[in-house]
Symmetry: C2
């Protein structure tokens, strides 16, 4: 997503150029290219798929909408398996129109996970609940903290459901380090993502994630937390940023790799 301006074949080539051997993919470009074809493209280039983003949106009350969401998530699990990644990131969904019931929405997510967890396991895939920053609680994700995400995940086995730790979403939370330790202790850190926090936030607050080093987040501090919790998996950089998307994708990828070395590596 950091370089979504690059079509899949160019992304694969740019990764090779920049010495990037692992890549997180999003469903929309994969579906547009064809899931089998994308899997072959990536595999033939020697790239590993770290995670597939994203399933989720499991808060609907309407039965038809709920059934459609579950069906779409099963398809996402299948896509992840086809791509050869073991991790499907979940953005769990906001409040249904007119609802003010955060607790109820979180319980509907729990019910959905109870159905999807075993299905994911059957396909060799783990679900990774991503708590999103509280500014998205109404319209995008009612799971706002790692504590809430773990409360949901722990109702199911760790090889079915864990969490995604994304610095952009948790950096403000003084409870997050302890929750990372909690997640690590039960093997539930299924993904780790980096983005920096820059202000002012843009209208809609979606596409203003900062390039590593440009903002308020100490990347090494968070790397230290997941490290101490026993995490040895991939580290993804996921920047939704209109400014970066407007630039040449290969240049942005190379810059991001260099920033990673400076601020993380």
């Amino acid at each position: 997503m950091t370089v979504k301006q690059l079509p899949l074949p160019e992304l694969v080539a740019a990764c090779a150029e920049s010495g990037v051997s692992r890549v997180g993919l999003w469903r929309e470009p994969v579906q547009a290219y064809g899931v089998e074809a994308a899997a072959g493209l990536v595999r033939d280039a020697g790239l590993t798929v770290t995670t597939l983003c994203r399933g989720g949106f499991l808060t609907a009350i309407d039965p038809a909408a709920r059934a459609a969401a579950l069906s779409d998530n099963r398809r996402a699990v299948e896509e992840a398996a086809t791509l050869g990644t073991d991790t499907l990131v979940l953005v769990c969904g906001g409040l249904p129109a007119g609802s003010r019931d955060l607790h109820g929405a979180r319980e509907r997510i729990a019910d959905a996970l109870a159905e999807l967890g075993p299905y994911a396991e059957d396909h060799g895939v783990r679900l990774a609940i991503e708590p999103l920053h509280p500014m998205y609680a109404a319209d995008r994700c009612v799971v706002s903290t790692l504590a809430q995400a773990l409360d949901l995940a722990e109702r199911l086995p760790a090889h079915q459901v864990g969490v995604t730790v994304d610095t952009y979403h948790v950096w403000w939370d003084d409870q997050a380090p302890a929750q990372i330790a909690r997640a690590g202790a039960t093997g539930r850190i299924h993904a780790f993502q980096l983005a920096d926090w820059t202000t002012p936030l843009p209208e809609g607050v979606l596409n203003g994630r900062g390039q590593l080093g440009d903002g308020a987040i100490d990347m090494r501090e968070w790397l230290g937390h997941v490290d101490a919790a026993g995490y040895t998996g991939p580290i993804e950089v996921e920047l939704f940023n209109d400014g970066l998307w407007a630039r040449d994708g290969r240049e942005v990828l190379a810059e991001t790799a260099a920033r990673f070395v400076t601020h993380v590596g």
Copy 2:
């Protein structure tokens, strides 16, 4: 602030028209009008001042900036006393330029409170730390939750330092109800403010607070939480909203009073 388009004399008249007998004031218009004059204006109209907003911004590292902030907060305490309110709301400040140290910033706030708390007590004023929504953690307030605010407040006596509960800032937090109970148990709910959460958020995320009933927050639920915690003080409606500010202030005040009856009263 909900009707900041109204100069103080018009605000006072509009309150009388709308049956509003208590008003929260902000420092800037009070200073512009003259603090003594404003106190007389409000008193002569039979209005009570609920709170003065705002002191705070206590995170500076630079000694001169820090001394200036402390001095300004002492002045804010004096203004509150002159206006006849016992409560000064604090917005504690963001990260200094270039800093990534949230913990250090919070400790500097604690140090400042240790100086300001006794000064406030001497003037019959209580400080009310307002946790701001985590989307303001970098540039406005490193105190993002009621738990963090209480951790700071509890270092000093309750009659010196407590917290402000504002629905806009805490509604997403499943720990907030328990923290409201914690605050109530030690007499530390010093202010209670309402605003609704509407999306999409505007650029800069400052002036998009929703009119009561327009958004995702169940006002009666939060009133129930502070009620159960023993809070019997005033309830303020504080809307930063470009749309409301562009309208006739008296009309907005009347509308807000009506919304209050529908969604809270």
